[in-house]
Amino acid sequence: MKYKKTPGITSILIVVAFYLFFTGCVKTENAIDPESIKTWEIYDKENGLGSDSIWTLAEDKEGNIWVGTMNNGVSKFDGKIWTIYNAASGLIDNSVLSIAQDGYSNMWFGTSGGLSILSNNEWINISDFGGVFALLKDYDDNMWLSTDYFPVLEYKNNEWFQFYDDECEWCNVVNVLFEDNERNIWLGSEADLKKLTGQTTASYTQSDGLPGSGIRSMHQDTWGNIWIASFGSPNVIKYSKGNFESISLSTGLSIEIVNSIASDNNGNVWFGLRFQGSIKYNGSVMERYSVKDGLPDKSVTKILKDKHGYLWFGTMSGGVAKYMPGLD
């Protein structure tokens, strides 16, 4: 068989192939090792955390993780180093119950002894409220506080506004401040659950479907459901389209205490339990995560999802655990 001369066609194709190869390759750096999925990183006093007893967790705009401890102030983690802020460095009290960042990037700390605000490395301490249990920055950058002496305070346009229920004393013991996707403000108290929509207030009690008294935590999931945990019930409440649905945590206990609720990026809802680690709910199945799975302590006080998607678990006596959830 004779071949006709085809000057250059093979060379051209080789050049085109090499060009496509070097220009078409997609960069794959910065991908994480698959072995690191579902692994736990533990942070405690030994590696820089202020205390192993944790009340609360928060993330600021820069991605720093703030850990409120029960007895040594607050610790900030920038991804590498822990920095401790406590009474010795200006914080009003070492027991930090709540943390929030305001619209001006100031950090607010609710403590047993009052409110501390860290602004440009300066401390502003306010002891007039007594203990500050919960803090919330709403969509409009107003700050909400639940305190010892004033049930609920709103700091708006440099003024303080107080919310008080004249008819229900225990309704003024507010444990949870929460804003949903529709910008309603929810107040979870020892006796009821209030929803503030503009100037309108709706109050829900056990007669409306709340299974227990004493709201402990609230969270809105990927679907828009609002999850509510109350003291003294083995169930959690899913609030959707105006209905309260009671869902069993399936722990077999007559009373379960849910300290915190959070969602991961895959739509799973995580419950932090007072005595039984954590439970992941994928929409149909509850699955427990305990010390044998990697949690540093059986008592989970707070769960936080950071902007990357890591879940942070604050515990009663084991410090903090950072977890990368998997697909299952």
Partner: protein, 365 residues
Amino acid sequence: MRYSIFLFYLFLTGLNLNAQTLNDSILVNERKIDRPLTLHKGQLQFNPAYEISIISKKYDNNSNKIILANEGTASVLHKYYFELSYGILDFLQASVTLNYSKRGERHEDQRIWLTFAEQPDFYIIYFDDHKGFEDFYLGTVIKLPLKTKKIEIALSPGFYIPLFSNNPKAPNNSISLSSDGQPTTKIIYHDNHKTGNGSQALKIGASTIVRPGNDFSISAKMNYSWPISESESITWIHELNGATFIYDNIPYKYIIGNKLDYEVNLAYQAISWFNVSLSYYYTKTSSGWSEITGFRIRNPESKLSLLSIGYEIKATSKVWVNQFIDIPLSGKNQLAPFSIYLGISYNLFPFNKKLKPVQIENSLN
């Protein structure tokens, strides 16, 4: 689908009953080991094939062989190949390929205890359906102009185009809630996956054949493909509304891995119409990532090597039948399929002039 291939073959047979062309004679005496790396100019080739794979083993991340049958999770893959090639010139061939496959895979059942009860609180069955067309392939083969028939070398650039969406369909989960008489909640998670990569990719390949003797040939080919862009798909999440599953999806991005594969083949032409061959095939996929719960997780490296034994029967000058079995030898992060492949190759020269019967005059008259 098997019947479709058979009917397709019958159609082609009928199409060409009277299409004897000048170039048909090339194929009459051409044995398998004599075939060039590219089709002849004007040659059109249909290659439908069917492959059944029994997947009773897999290789884990440490290349250990896991017997799936022990877990009750063995599965069967059905794959249908459709390839159409055309010889544009004697050294240039164009091909298009579109394959379809389906496989049902059951994973190991899961029992979850949240309490200390005798029966589990949740009993979960996982079932994955993989079904659909793979990415469309458009490629060429260019034979280098060497002045010998003993050795041939060809290059084969091409690219993959995802003609069909690879977004999985919504799952078909079902649940049997616990009750007083039945403490266990039973759930079947039934996911529906597509089989295509859903990603544009380029491929460059090279092949060679050496004919050291009259009846032997040694051939080898190597391909390397890589993605040219990020792709996007969805993952499904669910929640229960009473005992009814409702679904929503979350988009995620991914990049398929770079794939290297090569094959070395030893063929023996036993008789003019019968050829046997032995092949070693190796494939490795690396690089790429997939977003999982917001994180870009690097795709685990996967490898697979196979031993392939087969034969080809030249049924007619236009119809060749080939059959192979593939035996897995080793691998990593891969299923280990034992496969039986049956293919038909149908060849014709549809655009060449047909031979006309000529009346031979009696010169004696």
